[in-house]
Amino acid sequence: MERDAFEQIALEHLDAVYRMAMQLARHPDEASDLVQETYLRALRVAEKYEEKGGGIRPWLFKILHNVFYTRVGKAKRQPLAVEELPSATSAEPRPDEPPPAWDLESLQWEHVDERLKSSIEQLRPEYRSVLLLWGVEGLKYREISEIQDIPIGTVMSRLHRARSILAEQLSELAEETGLVEGCGGDGGA
């Protein structure tokens, strides 16, 4: 693919790539650097790009992901003594939470967007990135699996857990503030 054609197609997705870079880097300057490096690397290997039906965006996300994890280093998987790791009872999100509250279907969503955003921001990074690729970018499990280079089962597990955590937190909010209308259900409850 020639540069002009590449630029035209790839830059259409700049907002999405930047959004994902922000989620990974958590800082605007670093995100911009990441995006630039992603596009440069993509240009270098543009000949290898094959359209698989999902457009160029998943491919750009995959390069972004690789660039980011190359930058953060490969020293993540070092065995550590238990004492060096966060306590199991720390405040990190718990995947072992109660199931989603189905009656949240009647939640008054306009009142909860801030809480939803805050809850997403607090998710563990591995949950958040999968959730955003799915919820914001509209990607399929298989595409996310390829982008993040993880098994599709891992994608499903992370996504389910992230949604359970969000549902639980929204359920708590609804209980705290009485934001649930009526009795929920489907008219038959």
Binding site: R3, F6, R19, P79, P99, G153, M156, R163, G185, D186
Partner: protein, 303 residues
Amino acid sequence: MSEQNDSNLIRNYADGELDPEQAAALQQRLESDHRLRAQLRFEHVLRERIGEVMRDGSSAPAGLVERISAALSEATDEPEPEVVAGRVDSGGAVAGRGKRARRVGPAPMSMFAVAAALLLVAGVILFSIFGEQIGHEGNLAIETARFVEDVHIRCETEPKTLAKVSPWRARGEAERELTRHLGDGEVSVLDLSSLGYKFYGAGPCHVPGPVPSGHFFHERPAEEGRDASMVSLYVVPDHGQYADQIDEHRPGQWFELPAEPGSGDRILGISNGSIMYFLVCPCHPGLGDLKKAIEAGLPAGVQ
């Protein structure tokens, strides 16, 4: 079917990720189950709201598109090394990045290229024979962590996989068969019933390394206010193969292997001197109790 499985099914259905057969079966259930329909609506709305709130105000900053466009132009204008068989010529600009480098040959250096290619082929053959052992040198604990985490997640999310890799469902059978399979120390099924876990099954597996290995799965059903969860335990004869890779590695000492970059599970290990146990379980406040239950159930050597 458990509430947790229903929840996963509904989500996969909402995402258009169920196969047609599963989708049809679920559609039938949806017709008569208002609770499932309510969850389905909730999942649709949740996804829509996630998209709305997280897209909002997160576009690329002003000037970034120009900066990248300039960087791409600059990269295109840089001289590209001309690749000649067996050597790299750094001189000579190549107009147009998309063009393939001109290949000429055979050149005087080509015999080295042929030799390199032969070495590469030999390397591939050797790797196919010894690759597993070579790949694990100095990295066995890490490879083990990856393996047990992947198996755990697959079994947690794919009931068919869980059933397939757990052929020994009765406790006695599991203990007998695994002890025989490992051939090195007696293996017992741990009793985690005080924590609500039931033994699901066991089977042989292929934890990276030179010795046979096996795994046990324990499940805890969903209850009011609590999701279902699964614990998997991998057993590997401890011949000291992890000794120089794990700090504080001695019988009875727990250690932890971090997940790649995090699956939300924790991977803990402990040895009783003859068997190494790797535990994969969800991060939850009951982890301390789980560790105690495992310590109590291990054969002599741990204390």
